[in-house]
Structure formats: C-alpha cells, structure tokens
C-alpha cells in the first residue's frame, strides 16, 4: 500500500460492504487515502503494518466486539494517539455509554451523511487548540445521575464542552463526592432514589462548605412552571429539560458559572404533600416519554435505513434486489448483529434468502432455524412479530416477524436482540416497523420483476405474431403462384375436352378427365392452404344466422357431384326438412361440408358410396349433428384425433390414404369450433369412416334465410 503525498490515511473497519464503500467514496473524494478492513482481525493486522491517521470503526463486527477491538487497537505501538471514531447503528443509550467509556473519540450514528463524515474526520485530524488541552483552565463539574446512560451521555457532552467531569450514581453518593472534591458546579438529575435532586439541592445549600456551589437540576420530563418555582425555592440555579444533545444543560452551566444566583435561605425539605404529588407526576411523565421516544427513534432509524437501502438497491438493479442487501442495511442501522430472512417460494416452502452475522457454514442450521422450523412457520401465519421463548443455539433472545403485504405472506425474518439493556418486548414494535418496510421493499422489487417479465412476454408474443405473419405471407404468396399455372392447365384441358382443338377419342377424353379431376383437387388444396393461412392471422369471421341444413347440403352435393361421378362414387343425402335450423355461417358451413365430402370422394374407391345425414341427437336437443359416411379404408383409432392437426400426414399414408389430410380437416375443425360445435371421426377400420360435426340449433324466433 502506498501513501500518496501527505494525504491523511483513514482506516475504515466495517463488515457491511455497502457502508464501507460509502465511507471510502466520501473520503477519497476529499483526498483522503482510505484503507479498509472487513473485520477486527484484519483491522489489527493492518494497523500493525501501517499506522493510519484516523480509524473509523463499526461497533458491530463479525469477529471482535467493538469495545474490545478499540482496546486492542490502542495497545498497538503508536496507536494510542490515533483518533478512533465509532460508527454505530441505534442500539441503545447504554450501548452508546459503553462505547463512550471504551475511549472512542467520537460516536456517530448511522447512517452518516458523507459531508458530515468528512467534516468530523477533518476535525479530528486537526490538533485541538492548546487551551482546550490545558486541564488547569477547565472547570470541574460534578454530574449526579442514577441513570448510567444519562451519566455517560452527560459526561460526554460536558467533556466535549470543555469541562472536567466527575460523576456520582445518586444523591447520597453525590453529596459525598461534592464534600470530597468541592467542584465548581453540580449538575444533578431530579428523580433519583434515596435522595432526589430537590432534596440534594436543599441539603447542599444548607452546608456552609458547599452552599456556594451552583446546582443545575436536569429533568428528562416536561418542566412545568411549578417545577421551576420549586427548584428555585430549593436554591437551584436552574431546572432545565434534558435533551439528547444536553444543549440546555450546558447553556445553564455556562450561565451559572458566569453569573451565579445570590444565595437564598432554603427550607430543609419541600412541603411534603405538594412535593410527593409533583414527584409522582414527574416520574410518570418521564416513563411515558422515555418509552415512546426510544421506540419512535428506533423505528424511525430502521425505516429510514431500510427505505434508503431498498431505494438504492432498486435504482441500481431493479430486478436483482436481494433481501440480503436490504436486511443487512436494516440490521446495521439498528444495531442488530445476527438474523436471517426467508421468502416463500412458489411451492409454499420457506427459502433462506438472507443471512446476517453468520458465515456460510451456518447456512444449513439457519435454514431450519436450528432444527426448529416450526418457529418460522408459526411466524409466517402470525400477524405480528413475536418473541421466541427459549431461543436455540447461543442466541440471546429472538424476535420472529412475518413479512406481509395485505393478506399475502411474503416471508419471515428473525433477529437476535440484546436483552442486556432492553427487554425483548421493547423490540417488538421495532421489528414490526422493519417488517413493514421490508415487505414493501420486496413487493416493490417483485413488481419490478413482474413488469420486466411482462415486457419480456409481450416481446415474445409480438415476435411470435410477426413470425406467424411472415409464414402466412409466404404461404399466401406460394399458393397464389401455384394457382396461376394451375389455371392455365385447367383452361387448356377444358379447351381440349370441349373439342376446341379438334375431335378427341373417348380414351383421350377419359385420360383428360383424370388429369382435370386431379388439377381440381390440387386447386382445392391450394384454396384450403390459402384459407387456413387467412384463418390463422385474420381469424375467419363467422356471420352466424339460422340456416336450413338441407339446402346447404344439397347445394354442396350438386356442386361436387361431377367429380364423384367421374370417380364412380355415389353421394346421397338423407336430411329431413323437419329439422330445426342451424345457427351457422352458410358460406362456412358449405366449406365444411365440401371439405368432408371432397375428402370422402378422395378416399372412397370407385363403386363406393358416400352418405350425408343430419339429425338432432337424442342426448342433446340444442345441437344438430351432421355426419358424412364413406366406404373407404377407414381411419385407425389412434389417428382419429391427429388427422385434424395442421398439415398432419397419416402414419401409414401409403396404404391408408393416397394423400395426406393436409389442412382441409384442420380448417374444418377450426370452423366447427368457431361455430361452437365439435368434430370427430369414427367408423369401423376397413369399412369406412364417419365424420361427425355439430352446430348449435338456431334460437327460435329469428327469421330464416335461405342459404
């Protein structure tokens, strides 16, 4: 690693790669050289090799506890003077206090905005003015609070404000400390066991050795006018609200040191009844305030972190957002070190999709939640996050929360919570907030994925249509091209048959007849091909109306009879005039019947017969059934479905059929189905086939049209 010029070197110790990158980018942009360590061990190794000018250290690291790490870092040669700034997600104020005691130069809460980070890093790299380091010019403040957290926070802020701070854990201890060290000023909490702030104040003010020490009382609860009046009666300089920044306390301390209040006679104790009530009220207010504040703060931080992570991930890679990224960000922001996320697969099973605070070797155990998958399943069907009692493995306490969008269960996640400073119950609303945000992020990413899939599907559909269109255009073109020479063949054969080129012999007439019949068959096939291509793209339009079946069938037979006669096949129809009308497109119906009879002629040997029948089947009075029976070779049962397929060729075309079925039957099925009917074939193999199709009976009352 090379140092470029005099650029300050900052080591960032952070296990989250995204957070690490943010720090690196922010600092490098400002000319810092940034070293990175993903865990405590590599940080120690790095510092041993090359002493950085400043260390940014995540409190939560996978291998070494942050407080332990700073101790070990400081113990390295030359590292004692290196500023070490802690980066922490919201954990608790106790955590904060522990960190403060561990000797961090500053504690920053994540997420830290890059410009703030740069400013703070710069401030620590600039040597403090000499006066600030001169202990003799500092005022000594005694800070009394029974709340360890507040004690540490207060120490931090007062030290930062330039005071030397001495602490005491309650009023009694505070009195002792004051007597021993005689500080320049006392800052005391109001609500303390044994000796509260008011009593402490009045006791101090009646002690000749200590009564000159100004006392600033601080309360976390709302301070009313009555409270301030009581504080003044007790001889306090001020009663101020304690905000997290301690701004009011520090201002009051400065005021008191600059211009102390004249001393007044102080009663030995407050008026009891009045006082007790006030103390109770203060206590209640404080409990309420503390609870709601910490919850709100925690939730807000987690929500922000999850939202920003989700937004970042989605922007970067809309369809590839992983639960891992989002969960890691969320946990990191709220100081949760271990947990996992599972999503519901399409088959309903839970799949482990995010693993935070564990390495890959733990995956199999986490997949089943340490062989207790029931916890996950129960959580999945639950509405709210719940505490898992008797958490497995070495977990402290676990909260399992469902990820839901409306009534849909998307998945579940669990996180280990530290019960040292907060009860698991306090984490429940917090877990709920994280779950809500996660579910939204997942839903959003799924919506992106769906949209992408939808676009893909419509692109494929478009392509398919295009290909279909090209195919149809090609077939249409080919069949038109085929038609032209066929027309000429047809014309000249009829010219010869009509004797326009001279008299022909009966034998010549017979042969020309065979040629003409085949030319006509070819034309029918080409027409079918054309029609079928049209039917695929434009979808043949069906203009259904009531139609007399007997008329259509007779018309078809009259038109087709010459080719039957030529082949020596007889065609007969048995269609009663009493049948109800069919609801059909007469032209299409003619096409269907022409195709079926044409096929029958094609496959029936000379001397055979074709019979067309129509009836209302006894099992269904709503339809008409038309059947065309021939005396051809018949169709094998296994082929009876397939002959209706597009361009199907018989399996044994050589002996079963002279030619393939082509598209005529496919077209028939298409047309029949679009009339709302069905088509099928039966008959005995070797004794002919019977084609059947149905059409709906026309509604009564509609006028009948001749076909």
């Amino acid at each position: 690693m090379t140092r470029t010029g005099t650029a300050p070197v900052v080591l960032t110790v952070e296990d989250n790669p995204i957070a690490r990158k943010v720090v690196r980018v922010a600092l490098e942009a400002e000319g810092f050289t940034v070293l990175e360590a993903p865990d405590g061990r590599s940080a120690l190794a790095l510092v041993e090799r090359e002493l950085p000018d400043l260390i940014l250290q995540d409190i939560k690291l996978p291998d070494i506890n942050g407080v332990e790490l700073i101790g070990r870092l400081r113990a390295l040669p030359g590292a004692a003077a290196v500023p070490i700034i802690a980066l922490t997600g919201y954990r608790s104020e106790l955590e904060h206090a522990r960190s403060a005691m561990a000797g961090f130069d500053e504690i920053l809460f994540k997420p830290v905005d890059p410009s703030t980070l740069v400013r703070i890093v710069r401030a620590h790299l600039t040597p403090a003015p000499a006066a600030m380091r001169d202990g003799r010019t500092r005022k000594r403040v005694l800070l009394i609070d029974d709340d360890l957290v507040q004690l540490k926070l207060g120490t931090l802020h007062l030290t930062a404000a330039g005071f030397d701070v001495e602490t005491a854990r309650d009023g009694v201890e505070g009195l002792k400390a004051a007597g021993a060290s005689v500080p320049d000023l006392i800052v005391s909490d109001v609500l303390m066991p044994r000796l509260d702030g008011f009593r402490l104040c009045s006791t101090l003010k009646r002690d000749p050795a200590l009564q000159h020490i100004p006392v600033v009382l601080a309360s976390s609860a709302f301070v009313g006018a009555d409270d301030a009046k009581l504080a003044a009666e007790m001889g306090a300089e001020a009663l101020v609200i304690r905000t997290p920044e301690h701004r009011e306390i520090i201002a009051a301390v400065h005021d008191a040191l600059r211009a102390p209040r004249p001393q007044i006679p102080v009663p030995d104790s407050p008026a009891t009844e009045h006082y007790a009530e006030r103390t109770w009220r203060q206590l209640e207010q404080q409990v309420r305030l503390n609870a709601s504040l910490s919850q709100r703060l925690a939730q807000r931080r987690a929500e922000l972190a999850v939202l920003s992570a989700a937004a970042d991930a989605l922007t970067a890679n809309p369809s590839g957002t992983t639960l891992q990224d989002v969960l890691q960000q969320a946990f990191d922001a709220c100081g949760v070190s271990r947990g996992a996320g599972y999503l519901v697969r399409p088959d309903g099973e839970l799949e482990l999709r995010a693993l935070v605070g564990y390495d890959e070797s733990a995956r199999p155990a986490i997949e089943t939640f340490f062989k207790k998958p029931a916890f996950l399943r129960e959580a999945l069907s639950a509405r709210e996050p719940r505490i898992v009692v008797g958490a497995p493995a070495d977990l402290d306490a676990v909260i399992v929360a469902p990820l839901r969008r409306g009534t849909e269960s998307l998945g579940v996640f669990w996180m280990e919570v530290d019960t040292a400073d907060a009860s698991p119950e306090e984490w429940v609303p917090f877990a709920g907030a994280v779950a809500t945000q996660l579910a939204q992020a997942i839903a959003l990413s799924q919506a992106y994925a769906d949209a992408a899939a939808g676009r893909e599907a419509s692109r494929r559909e478009e392509l398919r249509r295009e290909q279909l269109q090209i195919k149809d255009q090609f077939l249409s073109h080919v069949s038109h091209e085929l038609r032209t020479p066929l027309t000429v063949i047809h014309q000249f054969m009829t010219i010869l048959l009509d004797g326009l080129a001279g008299t022909i012999t009966p034998e010549q007439r017979e042969y020309l007849g065979v040629a003409l019949r085949n030319a006509n068959e070819l034309r029918t096939m080409i027409d079918d091909l054309l029609e079928a291509t049209r039917s695929e793209t434009a979808r043949l339009s069906i203009a259904a109306r009531p139609v007399h079946l007997s008329e259509v069938i007779n018309d078809v037979i009259v038109a087709i009879d010459p080719s039957a006669v030529q082949k020596g096949v007889t065609v007969s129809a048995d269609v009663s005039n009493e049948l109800p009308d069919a609801q059909a497109d007469p032209a299409r119906l003619g096409q269907i019947i022409t195709n079926l009879i044409g096929n029958a002629i094609k496959f029936t040997p000379p001397g055979g017969s074709i019979a067309v029948r129509a009836r209302v089947p006894p099992e269904d009075h709503g339809v008409l059934e038309v059947s065309v029976a021939d005396t051809g070779p018949g169709i094998k049962p296994e082929e009876r479905e397939r002959i209706f397929e597009y361009l199907y060729q018989g399996q044994n075309a050589a002996n079963l059929t002279r030619r393939g079925f082509g598209i005529g039957l496919h077209l028939c099925r298409d047309l029949v189905m679009r009339h709302g009917g069905r088509i099928w074939v039966d008959g005995e193999p070797g004794r002919g086939s019977v084609f059947h199709f149905t059409l709906p009976v026309a509604p009564i009352g509609e006028p009948t049209h001749a076909a």
Binding site: H480, R483, T484, L486, T487, Q491, F492, I495, D498, R523
Partner: protein, 125 residues
Amino acid sequence: MPPKKILVVEDDADQRLAISIRLKANKYAPIFAGDGVSAIAAAQREHPDLIVLDLGLPGGDGFTVLDRMRTIPRLAGIPIIVLTARDPKTARERTLDLGASGFFEKPVDSAEFLAAIHAALGDGE
C-alpha cells in the same frame, strides 16, 4: 355482321391464348394488351365491344385501369369483366363498385365466363 371485338388485358401469354381460343370458338374477335397503359391505348384506338381485365397487371394494378376506363367518356360505356387470382373477397366488392359488369376468380369456369360475356353484350345464346 362483323364479329364483336373483345379487348383482353392479361399479362400472361398462356392465359391470353386460352381465352383467345374460347372467344374465337364463340365467334368473337379478341385483341390483346399486356399491361395497363397499352390497355387504355388499345381501348381508345380500337374501341372494343367488351373488355376482359385481369386485376393482377404489371406496372399498376387493375383497379387503376378500371378507374381510368370509367373516367374516359369514350370508354365509359364499354362493359368490363374482371378476372383475378387474388383475394376475391375484397376485390369483388371494389370491382363492382367501380362499375365492372362481371367478376371472376381464376381459374374461371369457361361456361360461366362466356355466359357473362353474352349477357354483357346482349347476345342471346
């Protein structure tokens, strides 16, 4: 009475010959044009009794020829019978709208075709 003159507008020589044989066998005098421009020229020069027009002509579709024939006063009264190998469904309507006397899809049934010609010329069979 001299045979009636029929202008056959058809680009395919084989089909021209086939139609010619049919027409001559029925005592008509066919004359020919292979494209739209010469068709209009021939019609103005020869003033035929009837025109048989193939819609699929090179260098301009048959509809244009049909339209031109109908807008030239000297030719407007000449009956025209249209033949086509293409998409008869839309062509039929359009052709008849443009004033054609008959419409046939190829291949043409010669008996029907001749019957239409007889009818258009007022020739009894």
